[in-house]
Symmetry: C2
Subunit: 225 residues, 2 copies
Amino acid sequence: MTMDIADIEPVDRESTAGIIAHRLREVIMNGSLSPGTQLGEAELARRFNVSRGPLREAMQRLVSEGLLRSERYRGLFVIELEPGDVRDIYAARLAIERAAALEVMSGDRDSAAAMLDETVWAMVAAAEDNDPTALSDADLRFHEVLIAASGSKRLARMARVLLIETRMCLAQLQSTYRRVDERVAEHGRITQAIRDGDTPAVLALLEDHMEDAVQRLAPGTTLRG
Amino acid sequence: MTMDIADIEPVDRESTAGIIAHRLREVIMNGSLSPGTQLGEAELARRFNVSRGPLREAMQRLVSEGLLRSERYRGLFVIELEPGDVRDIYAARLAIERAAALEVMSGDRDSAAAMLDETVWAMVAAAEDNDPTALSDADLRFHEVLIAASGSKRLARMARVLLIETRMCLAQLQSTYRRVDERVAEHGRITQAIRDGDTPAVLALLEDHMEDAVQRLAPGTTLRG
DNA sequence: AGTCGTATGATTGTCAACAATCCGAGGACT
DNA sequence: AGTCCTCGGATTGTTGACAATCATACGACT
C-alpha cells in the first residue's frame, strides 16, 4: 500500500443525503425494515439526528431506485416483493451478471479470479462457522466483485439495487437453503471457469446458478421461457 | 376504450418531486441542458414555481440515477460523458435489451411485433419528412417498446436512464448518421425476426445494432472483447 | 344495525429564514 | 513577479414553523 502522487483524486465528501441513503439501504437490506412498513419522517429524522429536509432528500433517492414506494400525503413504504418479482429480479440479475462476466473474460481474468476466490474463501469460513448471515454476505459479495471486475460503471449501478432486492427475497422467504457445500462449490466452479477462460462454461454456470435460485425461492417458475 | 370496474386502480397523484424529476429528465435528454452545466437551485426553483425544498428532492432522484453529479457546497452538474462512457452505455444497453428480447420471444411475439412496427412506421415517416429529431425519438421509442414488451419492471427501470444517456450521446457527438434507410431497415429486420420466432437472428441483429452504434459514436472501440 | 357526516390527531408537503461553505478579487508582503 | 492572506458575494446545506391532506373515531340520522 504505497501512496503515490497519481493516486490523489479530488475529495468530495458525500452529501448528507448520500450518507443517509446509504444507511437506509443497509437497513432495508438486512431486513430490519421489513417490506410494507411505513417510514415515519419525524422518527427517522430524530434517529439520524438530522432535520426532515435532508432525510426526505435521501428517501427520494431510494424512491427512484425502486426500494421505496411513495404515496402522496400518506407516506413512504418499503416495497413488497410479490411472487412474480422473484423471477423478475433474477432475470435482471442474469442479464447484468452475464454481461459483466463477458467483460471479465476479455480482461484480466486472473486478477478477477483471485478477487473472487477471496469471497469463496469467506463463504467456506462462514459455512464452517455455521453462520448463515455471513454466508449470504459472502455470496452477495461474490456477485458484487464479479460485476465490479467488469469495470462498468453502469452495470455496477444497476446491480446495486438488484442485490439489495435479492437480499430482501432471501430474508422474506427465508429459503430452505440447499446444502451449503453445494452452494459454495457452485461459486468455486464459476471462478475456475473464469480462470480457465472457458466462456461458454461461465455463461452456462451463471444461468444454472440463477435458475436454481429462482426455483428454490419461487417453486414452479423458471427463467427459461 | 370501455371502462370496467376491474380497471379501477388506486389513485396516487405523482409527488411534486416526481413531476419535477420527470421534467428535468426531459430537459437533460433533449439537450437543453448541455453536459457539465451547473443547475442553480434558486433559478430552477423560480422557473418551476416551487420552493427549493421539492426541487432539491427531485434533483436527488437524478443524482441516484446517475444523471446529475453532486459536489458538496458547490452544486449539481449534468454529467459529462467521457469517451469510455459511450461503450459502457451501449454494453449495458445490449445486456438489458438482449434479456428483454429473450423474454419477448417466449411471450406474445405477434403483439410485440405489432407495437414495434408502429415505431418503425414512425421512423419511416420521420425519414420522409427529413426530421432528424423525430427520427431519433422514434428510434428510442422502438427500444423502449421492446423493453416494455418484456413485461419486466426492473429491465424497464434500468433502461430508462440508459436511453436518456443514449440521447445525450447522440446530441453531444451529433453523430454522422448512417444512411437513414439502412437505419430504419435495421429496426424492421429486428421486428421481423421477432415475429418469425428466430431467436438467434434477433440476438445477432441486436448485437450488430449496438456494435454499429458504438463504432459510429466512438470510432476505434468495440463491444466485442 | 347500518350508513353518512364531522371533528380530531397525526403525518406529509411546502416554505422562507439562517448557517456553513466555497470561489474570486484585491492587497500586503517577500 | 510571485505567493499568501483576507474579505465580500454568491451558492448550497439545514432548520423549524406553517399549510394541506389523510385516517380514525364518534355521533346523528334513517
